[in-house]
Symmetry: C2
Subunit: 206 residues, 2 copies
């Protein structure tokens, strides 16, 4: 019982921290404001998260978990799977403040650099694995290597969602991600798979 | 004479502000620290920049001017011109704290959103013009429109430089931008121009 209460409180604090980090950034957000938002005392918050940094790392870990969970498409085509996963992450960015906050504070360099860098390494490694499958299955050419494709897709998506946020508060996020995929499919899909994959892009984002 | 002193002082303050914004972000940087860094009194700083926001806008304007100045390649091939411009901007990101700071605070959403959004609109409009020239000259296919290519290249570059910063402090920026261009050239170059443009990419970043 005590444990269940602790878990609910922990989740409420992480959500409240995410709301403040998303709105104000890491530096401006305050422990007092986050405690208020979570409906707990600063003392109770401190017992679970002794520092603002530990709170930020909890938000990033949770964002990480939710983002990877979105990559659970079971499409047998590796690239179709990635396209659908990117739609899942785009939806999270529009609807889930923990994901938005985690990505925001991940890019505010400085205090969180180590953690953030390992988040990108994991994400890139996962995408490289999918591109390797896609090469092995004949979906993708090797003109650009699977390693380079993974290392470029993650920053591409990161920039698309950030600039969409600045330009339109993410109102144009879905068409912007669709354009990213059109460019990538034209760049790397083997001829016989191109039309099918462009179809997946429009079905997923259209 | 007074004017020259004023201009020199203004430039020194903008440089000092950029150093602090680049290191600490907009929220954490302080007027007192910036005045100290510029070697001027807070009163003198206030006469030129009444608010921290006005200082941030001056850094973004200066970043904007330096970034656009880097797009001055005279190569007759529109895409080669863009490739060379992106190398110029990558060099600025590695060497010029005003450019780094301007881009950093541009993406810290909130206070500076209006200004930043217009910076991206201008940048995208400039790149769209180049893609239109490239389509008109037969360098680039129209499978993806010039408008969509401009609107995707700017976020792509933004993400590449940001993630390179997080992963390696921009140590891998040049190869990462080269991969971006390989993907784009494979995606959009007309067949007869492909090898030449890939050559430009390796000559520019190799």
């Amino acid at each position: 019982m005590v444990d269940a209460g602790g878990t609910g409180r922990r989740a409420a604090i992480v959500e409240a921290a995410a709301r403040d980090f998303d709105r104000d950034g890491y530096e401006t957000a305050s422990i007092a404001g986050i405690a208020r938002g979570a409906g707990v005392s600063q003392g109770a918050l401190h017992r679970l998260f002794p520092t603002k940094r530990s709170l930020a790392l909890a938000v990033i870990d949770e964002q990480n978990a939710r983002t990877f969970a979105a990559m659970s498409s079971t499409d047998p085509s590796p690239i179709a799977m990635l396209i659908q996963a990117s739609r899942g992450i785009a939806d999270l960015l529009m609807s889930d403040v923990v994901v938005r906050a985690g990505i925001r504070i991940s890019l505010e360099h400085g205090v969180l650099a180590g953690q953030t860098s390992s988040f990108y390494e994991q994400w890139i490694a996962g995408v490289v694995d999918v591109f390797r499958l896609a090469v092995a299955s004949g979906e993708v050419q090797t003109t650009v290597s699977a390693e380079a494709l993974g290392a470029t897709l993650v920053p591409y998506f990161t920039g698309v969602q950030l600039v969409s946020n600045v330009r339109s508060g993410r109102a144009d996020l879905l068409p912007a991600v669709a354009t990213m995929w059109e460019v990538l499919v034209h760049a790397v899909a083997e001829r016989p798979h191109r039309e099918r994959l462009l179809g997946v892009v429009s079905a997923t984002f259209g």
